[in-house]
Amino acid sequence: MELEEFNNHVYQDYPSTYDSQHSLRLRTVPAQDTSAVHFDWASQPKDAEDSDEPRNLRELPLHMGLKKAVRQVQQMRAPVVSSSWNIRQSQTFRRFCEVAKNILGYLVLWKRGIQMIGGHFGGGVQSYFFFLRFLVILNFLSSLLIIGFVLIPSIVFRSITFNSTIALTFNLTGKETCLEYDPKPDALMVFYTYFLDLVSGTGFMEYSYLFYGFYNNSLILSNGFSYNIPLAYLFTAAFYFLFCLICMIIRMGGTARLVVVTGRGAAGGYSMQVFTGWDHGLQGDRATKLKQNNLRHRLKVDLEEEKIKKKAASLTLGQTVSLYSLRVFLHLVVLVLIGATFYGIAQATQFSQSRETTGFEGLLLQYLPSMVITASNFVVPLLCDKIALLEKYSPSTTVILALLRAVFLRLVSLGVLLYTLWEQITCKGVRENCSPCDYNHDQYKCWETRVGQEMYKLTLFDFLITIATLILVEFPRRIVVDHCSSKLIQWVGRQEFSVAPNVLALVYSQTVVWTGALFCPLLPIINTVKFIFFYYCKKITLFQNCQPATRNFRSTTSNFFFLLVLLFGWMLSSMVLLYSVAKIHPSYGCGPFRFYTAMWEVVPGAIKMLNGTSKEFLFYVGSQKFSIPLFIFSCVLLCYVSALMSVYGKSVALLKSQCKLEQRDKQFLVRQIEELNATMQKEQCEPQQPQREPESFFHTETQWNQHYNYAFEPNEDPRPY
C-alpha cells in the first residue's frame, strides 16, 4: 500500500532518534536533525474513518510541506472508501460546526479585553476577569428569568385588575392590627429626602416593584388561561437558585476533573514550574521582566524551603513544642479577633434596627451594619497577614490559610447580620412574644421588604466603596508614586492587583444578591449593572494604576477554589431562602403571600387544584416508593465512579513502573551486546579460549529469566555466527 512506502520513505529522510521498532540497533544520534519525526505512523489504523483524518492532519507535528504531502496521499486513497454520501454529510456537518464556532466567537463578551489583560498581567489576574464575566452572564440570565415570570405579569395584571381574586377564607379576627401597612410617601418631598430614599430604599422606593411588598397575591383566571402570581413568585425564586447551582456545577466540573487528574494540583514540583512556568502570552519588556523576577523568586523560595525543611526535620523536641504552642496560640488570637468582629456586627445591626430617625443621621444609622462589615473585612485580613508572618508556615500553606480565614470572615459576618435580623423579626424565635401577628409587627410592618432593603443597602454600599476607593485611593497613589521620588514612597510603590481579595469581594456581593433575591426581585438586575461597571472600573485601574503582582497565583486550582467558595455562599443563601419560605409567617399587610401561614402553603393549594392524574403522579414522586430506590441508585452510581477513579490511579502507577523496567531492560541488553561484541573481538584475536563464552551465555540467560522479559526467544542465540 502506498502508505507503507511513504512510511519508509519518511523514515529514511528524517531518522527518528527514538523509534521503538529499531531499538536494539545502536544508532549514533544525529546532531543536526531539527525535524525529527516523533509520530509512529504504524500505530494509525489502516481504515481510519474519514471524519478523523482532517483532525489527524492538524495534529501531526510536521511542518506544512509534509502535511500537504500527507493530505495528497490521503486524497488519493479516498475513492477506496465505501459510501461517498457519508463523507459528504460529515464534511458539511464539520463545515457547519466551524461556521457556528466562528459566529459564537463573535458573541463572547469582552473577549479582546480579557485577552489583552492576560497578555500584560498574566494568568492569575485574567482568571479574576473570567470569574467576573461568568457572574455577569449568570446574573443577566437570572434577571431575564425574573423579569419574564414575575415582573412583566405583575405589571400587566396590575393594570388590568385591581382586586385580589383569592377568596378570603381565613379567619382574621384579632389580627386587624397586622393589616396596617401604609408605605405611601407624602406627596410633597424635599429634594434631599428624594436622594436619601433612593439610597436607602425607603419612601418612594419602598412601595415599588423593587421590593416584595408591592406585589399582589392576584390569581388571574380568564377563559382557559390562569396565572397564579404567588406561585410564580415562589417558583421563580426556586428555579433561580437551581439555575445558579447548575451553572456553577457545570463550570466546576471541568476544573474538578483537572484537579483530580493532576493529583494534589497545588504547588507542583520543580519540573512543573520549569517546564510550564513561562506564559507566552506576555507582551512588553516590563511584563517579561516581572515574570522572570517572579519565577526566580519562586524557585529561590522553593529551594530555600527545601533546605529549611531538611533543617526543621532536625529540630530538637523543645523547639518543635514551642513552635506548635505558638501556632495554637496565634490560631486562638485569630478566632478571638473574628469573634469580636461578629459581636460588633450584631450590636450594630440591633442598634440600627431599633432606632427610627430621619434625615442624614438616619441614613448613617441605616448604613451602620454595612459600614461595620466593610471595615472589618478590610482591617481583619491585614491583621491576620501580620499574624501569619509569626506562624512560620511554608509560603503555600500561609496563602491557603489566609484565604480560608478571609472567606470565613466574609461569609459568616453576613450570616451574623442575617441572624440578628431574624432575632428581631421573630422575637428570638419564640412565637408567643410576637402575638398577635407571629412576627414583630411593631418594628416591622412588612418584614420582607425590610430584609430586602438591608440587602439592597449592602449591595449599594459595596458598589460605592469600590468606586470611592478607585477615585480617592488608587489614582492619587499612582500620581504620588509617579511624581514624587522620595525613597519611602518608591518603596510603597504602585498598587498591586491582588487577585484573592478581589475575588472574595465578588463572592460576597453575589451571596448578598442571592440572599436578597426573594425579597427584592430586581436585585439581580442591579447586580448585573454593578458587575458590568466593576469590569470597566477594574480594567481602567489595572492599566492605569497597577503593576503586575510579584507573587504568582496558580490559575486553574484557584479557579476551582473560587467556585467552591461561591458554592458555600450559595448554600448559605439557600438556607436563608428555605427557612423564610417554610417557617416564618409572611406579613399580613403586604406581598403576594399575605393570608398564608407560610410561603410554602401556596404549593399544596395549587396542587389541589390540578386534575387527577397529575396529582397522583406528583404524590407518587414524593412518596417513599420512589425516593428510596432513587437514593439507592445514586449511591451505586457514586461507588462506581469512585472505583473507576481509583482504578485509573493504579493503572497510571503500573504504567510508570513498566516504563522504568523497560528502560532498565533496554540498558541491560545494550550492555550485553557491548560485552558480547568485546568478547567476540577478543576471540578473533585469541581463538584459544572458548570456555568463557558458554559461562557468559548461561549467566546472561539466568539474568534474562530474572527480568521475565522475553524480548527474544530464550533459546535464541543472540550471537550472529
Partner: protein, 188 residues
Amino acid sequence: MGGTSSKLPKDLLSEYQELTFLTKQEILLAHKIFSELQGRENGPYGSRVSMEKVLTLPELKSNPFRKRICHVFSTSDMKDGSLSFEDFLDLLSAFSDSATLEIKSHYAFRIFDFDDDGTLDGRDLEKLVNCLTGETDDTRLTAEEMRQLISNILEESDIDKDGTVNLSEFQHVISRSPDFVSSFKIVL
C-alpha cells in the same frame, strides 16, 4: 492598500484551515501581518522573512524563547531561522487556542531542546532555567542553587533514570499541569 493588496486564494485558505488549528479570521490576519513584515503588499508568499524581522513582532519581541521558536518552526535550508508564510502559520497553529495538548507539548519540547539532540540533558535544562529567570548576571541563580534545581528536576521527571528527559517523560510532566495549555498561547 486598495487594489494592490494581495488576497489569499480561497482554495489555499480552505487548505490552511484544514491543516492548522486556526480559524479563517486568524489566517487572514496572519497573512496581513506577514505581508507587512515582508514590506511588500503583493509579494509572493513563498519568500521568506528573516529572523530579525520576525522578532520585531510585539508578541515575540520580549519572549526569552524567541530565537528558539524561530529555529524550531523554520524550514529554511540555511538554518538561519527565517520563516516562510507556511512556517508562520505552523507557529501560530501550535500556539493557538484550539491546538491539542500533544502538539503543544511536542513543540515545547523541541523549543527547550537547545542542542537539538532529542533529549533534555543537564545543559539544556541549565539554559532553560537561565531563560526563565533572566540572562543577566544578577538575575541568574547561583551555581549551587542551579545544581540543586537540576538534580531535583531530573529526580522528579526522569522516570527511566538515564540522566535526560525524553519526550514521553516531558509529556507526562506536562499532562499533570492544568495551566500549560493556557500559558502556551500566542494570539495576534
